[in-house]
């Protein structure tokens, strides 16, 4: 088996999983998921956040069941289950998916910056600079990527505090009556919601980089629960503040809410909020970008650096294809769909296949 032993200086402590998971999940989704889930499930949509939080926790546990060895990652598992050719094809597909996520996350945030700050900004120049930053982070190795995610966690926590405004000004009775929506609508809302929970599938790639990986389960679950809690609180606060019709007309409810905040020297807090939230976006994008180049580096003879630069160029030029709101929305929904399949179908399936193969092998060994 093609085991992967990363450089000792790139290995990070298991408790950092808490921050990694949180940073990968919280990104652009946090700003707009309320609108999308409320569209399907109305004011009971907050129940969806709880359900998806629980489901993703189950997925995390399954991932810990799949990875039995400290040095196993997705690539090794693909090899051992599907053989070299099909396994590599699956890895490439996943690598491309991760690259697509890292690009779309950046581009859709640039859209927000265009709308809020600079309507006539040159996207190519800006995106080039961002990819230089992403490369600077990712080529430093996993430890640097995690370091960035670690700091982004504190920024998002700082920003989360400012949702208090919705709580203070909102109306609690807005979310009543409870369970007014049919249960299948709540389940259907899982699809847009899962976009905000994407990120845990990356554990399969960076597992060898975690010291004492087995002991990291509690931290990973903790990180996931914190994100679910953040989404839950955010959803409740937004539903308290806006009414059901209004929320559909607002693209980014959280940013609208930040507008209301008045600080002694900051009148329009959303300007600071958008800028600071950018750090969380870059952290998410970097983790995906790193996973993508790691996938390709493991199955091709090229160096991390070469792949990184090529992918960054792809990222910059992709702006010519993903260039308007409709396409961004389309790709986001596509990613949301793929992510849903990866999380809730592919990973459990992988687990079952692995168990079956192991069972067959041990049976053969007995015979």
């Amino acid at each position: 088996m093609n085991l992967h032993k990363p450089d000792i200086t790139q290995i990070v402590s298991p408790f950092l999983l808490f921050f990694i998971i949180n940073a990968t999940q919280i990104g652009e989704g946090l700003l707009s998921f309320e609108r999308e889930i409320a569209d399907i499930a109305g004011y009971d949509a907050w129940i969806t956040t709880i359900i998806s939080g629980l489901l993703t926790t189950v997925v995390i546990v399954i991932i810990w069941k799949i990875i039995t060895d400290e040095q196993t990652d997705w690539i090794t598992i693909h090899h051992s289950i599907f053989g070299k050719i099909i396994g590599n094809c699956l890895t490439i597909l996943f690598g491309l998916y991760a690259l697509l996520v890292s690009i779309i996350v950046l581009i859709s945030y640039i859209e927000i910056i265009q709308i809020w700050f600079f309507p006539d900004m040159s996207i190519v120049l800006f995106l080039s600079l961002l990819f230089i930053l992403v490369l600077y982070i990712c080529l430093g190795g996993f430890r640097i990527v995690v370091g960035f995610a670690f700091f982004s966690f504190f920024i998002t926590s700082f920003l989360a505090v400012f949702k208090y405004k919705g709580f203070v000004d909102g109306n609690f009775s807005n979310i009543f009556p409870l369970f007014n929506t049919p249960i299948q609508d709540i389940i259907r809302a899982l699809e847009p919601m899962s976009f905000s929970f994407l990120g845990i599938e990356l554990i399969l790639i960076y597992a060898p980089f975690i010291k004492r990986f087995k002991s990291g389960l509690k931290w990973a679950i903790g990180g996931n629960l914190l994100s679910s809690f953040t989404y839950l609180m955010s959803a409740i606060i937004i539903f308290m503040y806006y009414n059901e019709q209004q929320i559909q007309t607002i693209s980014w409810p959280t940013l609208q809410l930040m507008k209301v905040i008045n600080l002694p020297i900051v009148e329009r807090f959303e300007y600071l909020g958008i800028s600071l939230h950018f750090i969380a976006i870059i952290a998410t994008s970097c983790l995906y970008f790193w996973s993508s180049i790691q996938c390709f580096q493991r199955i091709t003879p090229f160096k991390l650096r070469t792949i990184g630069i090529i992918f960054a160029l792809i990222g910059v030029f992709s702006v010519y294809f993903i260039n308007n709101f409709l396409i961004i929305d389309l790709v986001s929904h596509l990613i949301s769909r793929i992510g849903l399949i990866v999380l809730f179908a592919y990973i459990p399936l992988l687990f079952i296949i692995k168990k079956v193969i192991e069972g067959v092998k041990s049976k053969n060994a007995k015979n």
Binding site: F117, L130, Y136, R143, S275
Partner: protein, 495 residues
């Protein structure tokens, strides 16, 4: 480190004592006398290196009257304590060049008697000027290696305090001592320092900062990765924490490694104050640095793009102070920032007394005149002056330079993309800091990788009884500062 492909030896090799003397005689301050009844004793020395009192009647008189034909007898005759007879040419050359007298007999072409007569031109041990503190010891290192090590040893009377000596610099042959406490310092750090110092290839080592730049992990970074200090107490404290000190002859600054970013914002005076006060001052210092870096970029960003951010009343003040200014905010900021740098640079190059005048002329006269002439706004003048002031609060001079430099990229980012640009700049800075290492150990500890225990002496300084363990950045071999089991027992009894 500069590596030449074909290193050329500056001197040709010498084989005999006479050849050596011939080379040295080319300098006019090299003296040569002949003594003895039969004129068979020759005395050589550099006039500029020896103490004239030693070459007095006592020595010369005795030499004139003697009639010896062996160096041994001469050695016993002369009242010098560390005299020696040697035939090693390198030794003779080195000793002559550090203030020894050489005596040689005409009939003996191989051996020479070396007598110490060093003339010490060193300034007195003085008060620290850069890292001055109101409280605490007022003594600073000077340019002499042995005095500096003496100052360290006076505080650490330990046989475990080891010094390892090296020579570096092809021409200057500067003495360097690596100082550490055996049993506390991690041997890996000591070995890294020694290995990097011995690998240095350069012709001149004039100061410890040469070494500091040559052995830094990333020499492209504007951040200093080794701390230099002129305070013996700071060095000793670092040694006790398990760090390694590098003392360089001819330099009043001692290098400490490994180090981390937060240590650059810790004044040593913090340890002389009670912990709540020290912590408060440290937080103020860190806030001052953040303010210093970000305030003028924020001014550019807000006034160029995001005037909505500013509350109405404040916007009124800003607008009225800027209404006559003919420049865009970025030009205004650059002019003012550069003139502050100009003032600082001029003040640093001039003698103290004129420097004060420059401060008054530059700061007050030019500042007021610039505002009255309508070239800059009052508000910006206040902000720039405050930012400059804040950058001087850093206890270590070197990091102050860095802080003044890194605000310029931020100003440019602010002009390009406003606050978003500043945040992008900040992300580049944070990434750079995460990537930096000092002797292979992360520069941003204890913040990242998070070492919760080390936070007790990072942004705040907790009281001494809570500082039971040495910081983990050095991976000290002996972790405990105090006997932790005993302390916990004591606290247990009090309950």
């Amino acid at each position: 480190m500069i590596r030449r492909k074909n290193p050329k030896q500056p001197q040709k090799t010498v084989n005999t004592l006479d050849e050596l003397m011939e080379i040295m005689k080319a300098s006019d301050d090299f003296n040569h006398h002949t003594f003895g009844n039969t004129n068979n004793i020759e005395l050589f020395y550099y006039e500029s290196l020896i103490n004239p009192e030693k070459v007095d009647v006592n020595l010369l008189g005795k030499l004139k009257e003697t009639n010896v034909d062996q160096l041994n007898i001469l050695k016993n005759l002369l009242p010098f304590s560390e005299s020696e007879i040697t035939s090693d040419l390198n030794d003779i050359e080195e000793k002559l060049l550090t203030g020894f007298l050489a005596l040689k007999l005409k009939n003996n072409d191989e051996q020479a008697l070396l007598l110490p007569a060093k003339f010490e031109v060193e300034r007195q041990v003085d008060q620290p000027e850069i890292e001055f503190s109101v409280l605490g010891p007022k003594i600073a290192f000077i340019e002499d290696l042995n005095t500096n090590i003496n100052l360290i040893r006076k505080r650490l009377k330990l046989p475990q305090l080891h010094t390892k000596s090296f020579q570096s610099g092809k021409i200057t042959k500067t003495n360097i001592s690596v100082v550490y406490i055996d049993g506390i310092a991690n041997q890996e750090n000591v070995d890294t320092v020694i290995q990097r110092i011995t690998a240095i290839e350069y012709d001149q080592i004039m100061d410890s900062s040469f070494i500091g730049q040559m052995i830094a992990d990333n020499s492209q970074s504007p951040f200093p990765q080794l701390m230099d200090t002129e305070r013996p107490d700071r060095v000793c404290s670092a040694l006790v924490e398990g760090k390694v000190a590098i003392v360089v002859d001819g330099s009043p600054h001692v290098l400490i490694a490994p180090t981390s970013l937060v240590e650059f914002f810790a004044s040593y005076e913090d340890y002389f104050l009670t912990w709540p006060i020290a912590s408060a001052f440290r937080i103020i210092r860190i806030c001052a640095v953040i303010f210093s870096v970000l305030i003028t970029p924020m001014y550019v960003a807000v006034l160029t793009y995001h005037y909505h951010i500013v509350p109405g009343d404040l916007l009124g003040t800003l607008v009225s102070s800027r209404k006559d200014i003919p420049f865009a905010p970025i030009i205004e900021v650059l002019i003012l920032e550069l003139s502050i740098e100009l003032l600082r640079e001029a003040g640093a190059r001039l003698p103290t007394k004129i420097g004060q005048t420059i401060g008054i002329v530059g700061g007050i006269v030019i500042g007021t005149a610039a505002v009255e002439a309508g070239l800059t706004s009052n508000v910006l003048l206040i902000l720039v002056a405050l930012a400059a002031l804040a950058s001087f609060t850093t206890p270590i001079y070197r990091i102050g330079n860095t802080i003044r430099l890194i605000r310029f990229p931020f100003i440019i980012f602010a002009q390009l993309w406003g606050i978003v640009g500043i945040i992008i700049g900040l992300m580049f800075l944070v990434t750079h800091l995460i990537r930096l290492t000092s002797l292979g150990r992360p520069f941003l500890t204890p913040l990242y990788p998070p070492r919760w225990k080390d936070l007790k002496d990072a942004i705040i300084r907790l009281p001494f009884h809570l500082q039971g363990e040495r910081p983990t950045i050095t991976s000290p071999r002996d972790k405990n500062r105090i006997n932790l089991s005993r302390t916990s027992n004591k606290h247990g009894k009090r309950k």
